[in-house]
């Protein structure tokens, strides 16, 4: 043990440590402030206003759509009863085919590639951790859902067209789309407004957020996307079509 300090000389060592403490305090405060400011809420009021405006516009357009739809049905009825009935049937048929997915579609859109994360530590042995670095069926489902929600008109996953009865599920380590096995990398092609589709996927906090962080997803806009036709069965063996109600 060193000799005890004489008189008041110890105050210098205390001062020295006070300087260090001052620095530590300042740095701690800074780091705290950093952590808080990184989640700033500056733009929310503006975005909220924009959102409300768009919502109102949407409602108005929906009403317009209902009106136009009704008028269209009326005219279609008149046409079918009059001359040129066969042409109209052809038109409705083509439209129905597009919606049903039984015909291939081409147009501008995006191509999304999903693959297992290259950021996984190869020495990792815990199964639940490894799972987080792999692409799952729920990832593909979330992506296709988001794309449809953002206006995608046709989507295919590894060449399998997604139609109304399509399923995306996994059996053990294998992903099945339309009950057909597909293998990674998973290529999702979607036809729609490329900007909208890309922005919807890149939304911070959105469905693909985690995938972007782990480098598992790549979204590319494409001027000419070809989505193949659905090649499965389209027979309804249980359901029967219901007659359309008037004025809908």
């Amino acid at each position: 043990m060193s000799p005890p300090a004489r008189g008041r000389s110890w105050i210098f060592q205390v001062t020295a440590l006070c300087i260090v403490l001052g620095m530590l305090l300042a740095l701690s405060l800074k780091t705290q402030r950093q952590a808080v400011s990184e989640g700033s809420q500056g733009r929310w009021p503006t975005l909220l206003k924009e959102f409300r405006n768009l919502k109102q516009e949407n409602e108005k357009l929906e009403n317009d759509l209902a009106d136009v739809s009704a008028r269209y049905q009326e005219l279609m009825g008149k046409q079918a009863r009059g001359m040129g009935g066969a042409e109209n049937v052809e038109e409705s048929l083509a439209e129905a085919r597009l919606l049903a997915g039984t015909v291939a579609v081409r147009g501008q859109g995006v191509v999304v590639t999903l693959r297992d994360s290259p950021k996984r530590d190869p020495a990792e042995t815990r199964q639940d951790i490894i799972e987080n670095y792999m692409v799952h069926d729920y990832d593909i489902r979330a992506i296709t859902n988001e794309l449809f929600a953002s206006g995608a008109e046709a989507i295919s996953v590894n060449g399998q067209r997604i139609v109304a009865n399509s399923s995306i599920r996994c059996v053990g380590p294998v992903v099945l789309v339309n009950s057909r096995q597909i293998a990674p990398p998973y290529v999702v092609k979607a036809i729609g407004t490329p900007d909208l589709l890309q922005k919807a996927l890149e939304l911070p906090g959105g469905v693909a957020d985690g995938l972007f962080l782990l480098d598992m997803i790549e979204v590319k806009k494409h001027p000419d996307v070809v989505v193949p036709a659905y090649t499965g069965s389209t027979r309804f063996s249980v359901g029967r079509p219901m007659p359309e109600e008037k004025g809908r």
Binding site: M1, S2, P3, P4, A5, R8, W10, I11, F12, Q13, V14, T15, A16, L17, C18, I19, V20, L21, G22, M23, L24, L25, A26, L27, S28, L29, K30, T31, Q32, Q34, A35
Partner: protein, 120 residues
Amino acid sequence: MSWLPVLGLVLGFLIYWLPVRVPAEYANYLSLATLAGLDSIIGGIRAGIEGKFHDDIFISGFVANTLLAALLAYLGDQIGVELYIAAVVALGGRVFLNLSLIRRYLLTETAMNRKRDRVR
């Protein structure tokens, strides 16, 4: 003379306006070092007033406490139990203890001084 440590604090705090950045993962360790520093300073002042201040004990105290606190924080992270709370409680407890000893000493000293002056 007694304002010197305060000056030191203010001086050290000036680093707040320097473009230094600390990665967010170290924020926890930083606050533990701050607490250990506070404990060492208050402890040092108490020892100084009692005439029992030792250089090596003072510095080694700060370093050892900070290291142990950091070790507890790191260990706690690994095993999922917030062990650093032990350091916070221990160091915080000592700050209050030493502060009360300083307070008693100063008040007793002034009481004694007053008595002495009155006797004179």
